[in-house]
Amino acid sequence: MPHRRPRQGQVIDGFVLGTPLHEGGMASIFEVSHPDHAIPLLMKLPHLDGNDAGHIVSFEMEQMILPRLTGPHVPGFVAAQGFEAPNPYLVMERIPGRSLLARLRELPLPVEEVAAIGAKVALALAAIHRQRVSHLDLKPANILFRETPDGLRGDAVLVDFGLSHHGRLPDLIAEEFRIPYGSAPYMSPGQAMGRRDDPRSDLFSLGVVMYQLVTGHLPFGEPLHLAAVRRRLWRDPHPPRRLRPEIPPWMQEIILRCLEVEPARRHLSAAQLAFELSNPETIRLTPRAARMRRDGWLTVLERRVNRDRSTGPRRQPAPTAHSAPIVVVAVDLREQTTPLAEALRASVGNVLRTLPGARVACLNVLLDGYLTGDAPHDEAGRSARVQRLAELRHWAAPLGLEEGRITFHVLEGSSAAEPLLEYAEANGVDHVVMGARANSMLRSMLGSVSGEVAARAPCSVTVVRPREGAA
């Protein structure tokens, strides 16, 4: 049945079609307006002609998943109409600006910028993973950024959930197709083997994106058929530093960890990856960081033979924010009594014992008023920071955590609560552990920091208070 393509000026359910934004193989995308909606909108209309079931199913999938996603890291869902209507469509918030695709002409990008982009995308992935969605088609064209009020690059926004997987909804893509769907250069080895239920696939794809941004090359090229895609199961890419020696070892460490074939060897969660990208000084370097060449042919052959005998990466449940959380412990070194310091350590120790995937960020806030100079970068400020870091390490030493699981940070601010809250928001923190202020006179004068943090934090907060007389 011949079907008319939508055109500018057409009105569908009150949405007026404006400028065509994209005419792809699977769908047309138009800017649209509607009297009830003030925000910029776009409408995606799947092509109804053609025989490929793929674009029909991916449209159904996006129609199922997008309305269930919330937060700044996805375009807001507005309306949808299914295939029972003459014009099926999906209307969502339009994110102004161009996708990361536009930056590919400027490669390679500076390392700092790649780390900043990578951290933002990793936080966006953490946000959708928390909502049980794996994107599974992460690539520069599907990454946009919101603009901050001062015109800077704000939160990353992920678009196109047509190939995504929702942990609690039927997977229409898996049901329909035996061959994996996705974008060949960015697809994880597990996905190439047909696995669609592991959010760590997105970490691999982000690794490919960062590799591309920082070296100007795709780590696995642009394979044209599935057998060539599966080569990445045994053939490792050139280490980024071989292509661009000025890339720091920590950046290579992060990228090659993302590109591990075995999902369990990648970062435990997108939030932990974001954390490393924002705190490169805390990264524990492994032999990955120093590699200057690919594995020899014998190693590769061995891997290939072993792969051919197995069915792909081993199957283990993927860690979640619940099993691999980022735990912040706010240590107030000024008021810390010994019983409180111990109670706080015991509380953090319990979390770490039950959740081996957890990582801890030890925070202390240096109040502006504490320094007479008020200039955080002068001599007094620097030595105050160094002193605080030493005190944090001293506090944490009895926990006996290896490097890489615990990091130390001194924040600055005019109040204690504000920097803690900002830190928790910016780093995808899952749990804050902090002590109650013991001195009731101070508390009544200054208010309760823990109370304010507990009320406003984007995550769980445990307030630790030792019992009277505890020693």
Binding site: D13, A53, I56, V57, E60, Q63, M64, P67, R68, G76, F77, V78, A79, A80, Q81, G82, F83, E84, A85, G167, R168, L169, P170, L172, E175, E176
Partner: protein, 269 residues
């Protein structure tokens, strides 16, 4: 499929739709099996969740110790407009052709003695299926409801779906929640629904939803199971409701019914 297509209405974001007024929900309760505690917990839950229409998918009796109470409750809900259809255990109460075996037979013999003539007569009035809008309600495989065949996998689901014009079929009988979908490309797929997660029954797919059991769950979760459909958005949820298993099990023992019928309630097996 022969369905008169209703005028399509755009689906708004679920949050926006529910903020304005809670939608009228349809509750589906299957395989109650004389478990009073489970049934009343589910009905309370459904009332609180905003269910305004009740559909009972059969097997009100058998296994449990309160068949008379359960039937009275269903009859009372029917007086308020609920729909009830016949299950194989209900049929076994009055039909000579329907032969149960083992524990099920022992339970039916016991049940028959518990029911008033009214209740037994009520069972004989129940239909094998009920259709409304684009939905069909039936206890077992809709391709031949009177044969009480289980819909266990995609192939049985396909047989059931292909036998009727309904876009959505809702059944019970298996005591294990499942959702089967027949795609535009004629593939039939199976899905194990997570509890309390709305699954959109999107067009143009056709769907067969197997409710879990209210009174005798067999999927390893002892909590009672029932379904909630939002007909406006075509979203279906499988709800799990904890109830007083000890009381239900103690009554089964006191009634002299097989002890294994009490034991299995604790494990949902």
């Amino acid at each position: 499929m022969g369905q008169a297509a209703a005028r399509p209405v755009p689906v708004l974001a679920p949050s926006a739709a529910t903020r304005q007024h809670a939608p009228a929900m349809i509750a589906f309760l299957s395989d109650i099996h004389g478990n009073r505690e489970a049934l009343s917990a589910c009905l309370d839950h459904a009332d609180r969740a905003g269910a305004t229409r009740f559909v009972f998918l059969g097997d009100y009796v058998g296994y449990g110790a309160d068949p008379a109470w359960c039937l009275r409750t269903v009859m009372a809900r029917m007086a308020d407009g609920a729909v009830a259809i016949l299950g194989n255990h209900d049929q076994a109460v009055f039909a000579r052709g329907n032969r149960m075996t083992g524990r099920a037979a022992a339970a039916i013999d016991w049940t028959r003695a518990q029911l008033s003539p009214d209740a037994a007569a009520f069972l004989q009035t129940l239909p094998l299926e009920h259709a409304e809008e684009d939905r069909l309600y039936v206890h077992a495989d809709a391709s031949s409801p009177e044969d009480w065949r289980y819909v266990l996998g995609a192939e049985e689901a396909r047989r059931s779906l292909e036998a009727t014009p309904a876009r959505v079929t809702i059944c019970g009988h298996v005591h294990v929640p499942r959702l089967f979908g027949l795609t535009a490309t004629d593939k039939c797929t199976a899905f194990a629904p997570a509890h309390d997660t709305p699954v959109p029954l999107q067009r143009p797919r056709r769907w067969l939803a197997v409710m879990g059991s209210v009174g005798q769950p067999r999927d390893g979760d002892p909590a009672a199971c029932y379904g909630l459909l939002n007909p406006g958005t075509a979203e279906l949820r499988w709800m799990r409701v904890p109830y007083d298993v000890e009381a239900a099990a103690a009554k089964i023992r006191r009634a002299g019914l097989p002890g294994s019928l009490a034991d299995r309630l604790f494990t949902g097996s």
